[in-house]
Homo-oligomer: 203 residues x 3
């Protein structure tokens, strides 16, 4: 179940990375490399923080295969899919939610204390998208926009609380991921923006 | 003592990251995320290099709490604090000095040889600020300006020499951190610039 | 033999990083820091992924010394060497080939399965140059240009196949590195470009 959820997040992040790469006019190889990096990046950071060596996503082929296939599909069907610009922000939200919550669950499984697991999970969720944006020379979404890190943290904390209450991990993780996606979509739709500091000329 | 020194560096780097974020017109969440990333980044890189999993700063709450509080304070009192532009470069210098020297001491405690400990310490000092600058799409301070990596290396080497001479670690680390800050402040004040290669049109 | 090959890659990547730094008008310290980061970056990423702590390149001095000496030589003789602009792309190709293949061999030695070793090797090859480009605010070569990641992957797979066929590691690694360099040079020379997605205005 956790595995199915991870694959969903993988497809979502691979799609968001590939679209960003197509819009940045990268060639097909660049699209695949960025799609894979976005999809696997968060999980690799998670495993490095937890001391899982070598990282899980580099040990079995489905992760890479799913990431590459998604990237090639985005490349091939880009003109059709491009009308769905909003779907790409949704894909990023799904990736964020899935990786933040499954990352927390995996960290708990690896024996990390709840506090640490929540932070590792949040980092897992944010990591892939941050890598994508830095590689394309953009200020990461997590720094710029509506309720992003906070949504990831909320999902991670829900999984952590579920663990403390000894609730079954799989349904709690799915529920928590859904909460993150809902918060992100509402934030995007309602344009929930946090205040900017006074005196910077940006109000 | 080492812990008190680390907290000082944490506040300093959190402040430098938060100010950079305010000036880049990020919202309050972006300011907190960048402040925390700058404050914790170097230590996380240090622990990943040393194989300390999960990283210390993700294991106990004071690190995150101090980083977040500093970032919120900078966000709230920015108009008052903004007159102190020079204080931000000073904060970066304090963070550099503290993390380069405490990073070396922590690496030595973890059993790393002196040569390795100095390099890990230097990387710890440089890491947080480099992350801050890359995330804001700026060429890192360490690549651009007056005596930066060299100051961090000098502090790290002082701690390493103190270790070889079996001097007590805490006072040596404090002294070495003070040396780094002094060198950086003098370099900034006196505009000690190193030469640029001939023939690049930048002389 | 693997060690001699690694030193060659180190000089090549240090040169490519230093040239990029000189062209970006960094001062002598910036040139050395970027040269060293480019030269050691891939290997550090490799060791972090494999759980080799602290990274090999931070444990013995020749790596750093060779990187720093190369960077200082580039800085000093830049006007003479600048005529050899193409040599810098060649240096990047040599670094890519050497680190992708030696990285795979080192991962196999560390007990990683063949599939994992190939991915770690490819990442080792790509890592140093990607760090160099991100620090200078450029979109990494691996995302932008002719057959780059694929060349690295081909070299890594050759080493992996050699391992499965129980061929002697050293000559296979050298041969595979030569294949990567040849592919990259041909791709640059013949301007082998991969297609860009339709409808992005970049055809």
């Amino acid at each position: 179940m956790l595995y199915a959820l991870e694959m969903l997040g993988l497809v979502a992040f691979a799609a968001s990375g590939s679209f960003a790469a197509v819009w940045a006019r990268l060639d097909v190889f660049g699209v695949v490399v960025l799609g894979i990096t976005t999809a696997l990046g968060g999980g690799i950071i998670r495993d490095v923080l937890l001391g899982i060596n070598p990282p899980t996503t580099l040990r079995t082929w489905p992760y890479l295969a799913v990431g590459a296939t998604t990237a090639l599909a985005v490349f091939a069907f880009h003109p059709v899919l491009a009308k769905l610009r909003k779907a790409v922000l949704l894909a990023d939200a799904v990736g964020l939610g899935v990786f933040a919550t499954s990352g927390t669950a995996i960290a708990l499984n690896a024996g990390a204390p709840v506090y640490t697991a929540c932070l590792v999970g949040m980092t897992t969720g944010i990591g892939g998208g941050a890598l994508r944006d830095v590689l394309l020379r953009e200020i990461p979404l997590v720094l710029r926009k509506e309720i992003y890190a906070l949504a990831a943290l909320a999902g991670a904390v829900l999984v952590g609380v579920g663990h403390l209450l000894r609730l079954p991990a799989a349904p709690v993780t799915v529920l928590a991921a859904a909460v993150v996606v809902t918060v992100r979509v509402l934030a995007l739709w309602r344009k929930w923006n946090a205040p900017v500091a006074r005196g910077t000329g940006a109000e």
